[in-house]
């Protein structure tokens, strides 16, 4: 089901949680609503679900205006941040709940329900837990049961509020992969909220970046990473070196071969991996020295030091594969020449 939000605004007292948000989500996508805490992403998700009513604007599902439709009739599946599993029911009864509360006419027989619940539990690979209570499950298991429960009513849209937020790092990694695979299998339009940019980039087919109640950028992960629409997105997604030209940082760019003619704004954002190094000859007049480095696994992070910069940033980070770093054969204190492959310019 496609989702269209037009001119959504929502205030909590004096606080404007969302301001004039427009968003279109095509059928079958797996979308991440990404932003810092308090940016309005959860509120937006709850408005799509019908758990919250917008002050202004409309929610259209498949082209139909559902703004006034109650959550129980919207045909959405919602996975809550802390799962909201019914504590007093077994896993089986939790998953069966949505089917059992259907009006008599639409309600499947207990046999059909049992079959369906079992197949959903198989889908989330937890068939053996049917008789347990939520308290007896691990966080990752609860998460998957919550998902199975939401899927039981065959929702047109699956909405997940910080689905991995409350989990250990290792479990989170596994579940991300698993959610992605599940989405490929089911193809139900899905939206999840996260504040973790890595998670959004890894899982989603589309990323929507929110900040202070407004959408900053929407696009595929690669597009957002390679072409950030503004300084906020560039800073929020991935690592970046920020050079403010009004603060004497110009020295960096000049030494990296970017002259005043090549400037396209007042602030340059440079990803660490867009900085390449050469070992400078002893006679070179490059002011940049290698200060230190850290192994990050497959890549090396290198901290550079510019002896000409007074005030502002005197250090810069570059990142490169281990192989390349070995080839360079650099030591602490070596003089280097910097080559900036790409920079994003903002005003």
């Amino acid at each position: 089901m496609s989702i269209l939000l037009s001119n959504i605004s929502k205030n909590f007292g004096q606080f404007a949680a969302l301001h004039n948000v427009n968003l279109e989500i095509p059928e079958g996508e797996l979308v991440a609503l990404l932003g810092p805490s308090g940016c309005g992403k959860t509120t937006l998700l709850r408005i799509i679900a019908g758990l919250e009513a917008p002050d202004e604007g409309q929610v259209l599902l498949n082209g139909e205006d559902k703004t006034a439709e109650h959550v129980s009739h919207r045909g959405i599946g919602f996975v809550f941040q802390h799962y909201a599993l019914f504590r007093h029911m077994t896993v089986f009864d939790n998953v069966a709940f949505g089917l059992r509360v259907k009006p008599k006419k639409e309600r499947p027989s207990e046999a059909v329900i049992a079959k369906k619940v079992q197949s959903l539990l198989e889908l989330v690979q937890l068939g053996w837990l049917a008789d347990r209570f939520p308290d007896q499950l691990s966080g990752g298991q609860r998460q998957r049961i919550a998902l199975a429960r939401a899927l039981a009513v065959e929702p047109n849209v699956l909405l997940l509020d910080e689905p991995f937020g409350a989990l250990d790092a290792s479990v989170r990694k596994d579940l991300r992969q698993w959610l992605r695979n599940l989405h490929q299998e089911l193809h139900v339009t899905s939206i999840f909220v996260t504040h973790d940019q890595e998670e959004a980039m890894e899982v989603a087919s589309q990323v929507v970046v929110l900040n202070q109640g407004q959408i900053e950028q929407q696009g595929a992960p690669a597009e957002i990473y390679d072409h950030p629409a503004n300084a906020f997105v560039s800073k929020f997604i991935g690592q970046t070196n920020i050079l403010n030209l009004e603060q004497n940082d110009m020295a960096w760019l000049v030494s990296a071969g970017i002259s005043a003619d090549n400037r396209h704004g007042a602030v340059a954002h440079i990803r660490p991996h867009n900085i390449d190094l050469e070992k400078a000859s002893m006679s070179s007049d490059s002011p940049i020295l290698l200060k230190d480095w850290q192994h990050l696994g497959a890549t090396i992070r290198i901290e550079l030091f510019n002896s000409q910069v007074k005030g502002g940033n005197s250090s810069l980070f570059a990142e490169m594969p281990n192989e390349r770093f070995k080839q360079l054969n650099l030591n602490r204190g070596d003089k280097v020449v910097v080559n900036i492959k790409q920079a994003h310019w903002f005003n």
Binding site: F12, E52, H70
Partner: protein, 275 residues
């Protein structure tokens, strides 16, 4: 908590709540105000400044005050023992604390009167050994009100004592403080606001208490006659104006005292850095 507009049932739940509240509580209570408005101020003063009535106010408030302080001391010790120490039968004792909540006041009244009357088993013992007469004196009222007040203190102090961060004690101990200093400087300041709440609850309950008191009090005018009893006496004489004037005065004094106690609590809480 965030508002949830999708939750069903707001209007029926709130309407029923309000209607029921108005019918059962607010309208009946307002009769007290309207009835007393029918009195002119001089009449009101004449009723209230009657010597016997002033004496009853003194009896009610003084006995409640003493009883709530005593209940505070023993309640604190009981709460401390129940939280900090371990001994067999502790759970049973803990359950018994609520007895004054659960036992109807009339039962408490006749039992206490029987125990402390001159021929009762504690009454005789106290009389023979200390020459103290409990039943049918203000002391009897105090005893009954301690009985009524004790669970208020224990049940407000107990949870705070349980939640108390004992690493603070260990920190103080590591800094060289003695056990007594730790209690005075670390534990008590943190528990004090809760203790004050418990004492004020016991006090407020004591002022209005009727059933457990009248059997043991002896109800001698000027000496051991409490305000609630005087209200009933007025009613039995069909003196509605008198009953109302006394009741209203008592309510107002109680509320003013509670307000003062709340301010005191606020102050105690501020001083110990809580909220």
């Amino acid at each position: 908590m965030k508002q949830s507009r999708i939750m069903p049932g707001f209007k029926p739940a709130l309407s029923f709540t309000l209607v029921y509240l108005v019918l059962i509580v607010l309208i009946p209570l307002s009769t007290l105000v309207f009835k007393s408005l029918q009195l002119n101020f001089d009449d009101y003063l004449a009723i209230i400044t009657n010597e016997r009535i002033i004496a009853s106010f003194r009896v009610s408030f003084v006995t409640s005050f003493i009883a709530s302080i005593v209940a505070g001391v023993f309640g604190f010790i009981i709460a401390w023992v129940l939280v900090r120490y371990s001994f067999s039968g502790k759970r049973l004792l803990d359950a018994v604390i609520d007895l004054p909540f659960a036992l109807p006041t009339a039962v408490a009244g006749v039992v206490l009167a029987t125990i402390y009357q001159p021929s009762g088993f504690l009454g005789r013992w106290l009389m023979d050994n200390f020459g103290v007469k409990v039943a049918y004196t203000p002391l009897g009222i105090v005893v009954a009100l301690i009985f009524i007040g004790i669970p208020f203190v224990v049940r407000t102090v107990e949870p705070v004592l349980q939640e108390f961060d004992t690493t603070m004690e260990e920190a103080a101990s590591s800094l060289g403080a003695s056990r007594l200093v730790i209690f005075n400087k670390v534990i008590f300041p943190n528990i004090f606001p809760a203790l004050l709440t418990g004492i004020s609850l016991a006090f407020a309950r004591g002022v209005g208490e009727y059933g457990s008191v009248i059997f043991i009090a002896g109800n001698l005018p000027y000496i051991s006659e409490i305000v609630p009893l005087l209200i009933i006496t007025k009613l039995e004489q069909y003196d509605y104006a008198g009953a109302t004037a006394i009741a209203l005065t008592m309510l107002v004094i109680s509320f003013v005292l509670l307000l003062l106690i709340n301010l005191l609590q606020l102050w105690a809480r501020r001083r110990s850095g809580q909220n």
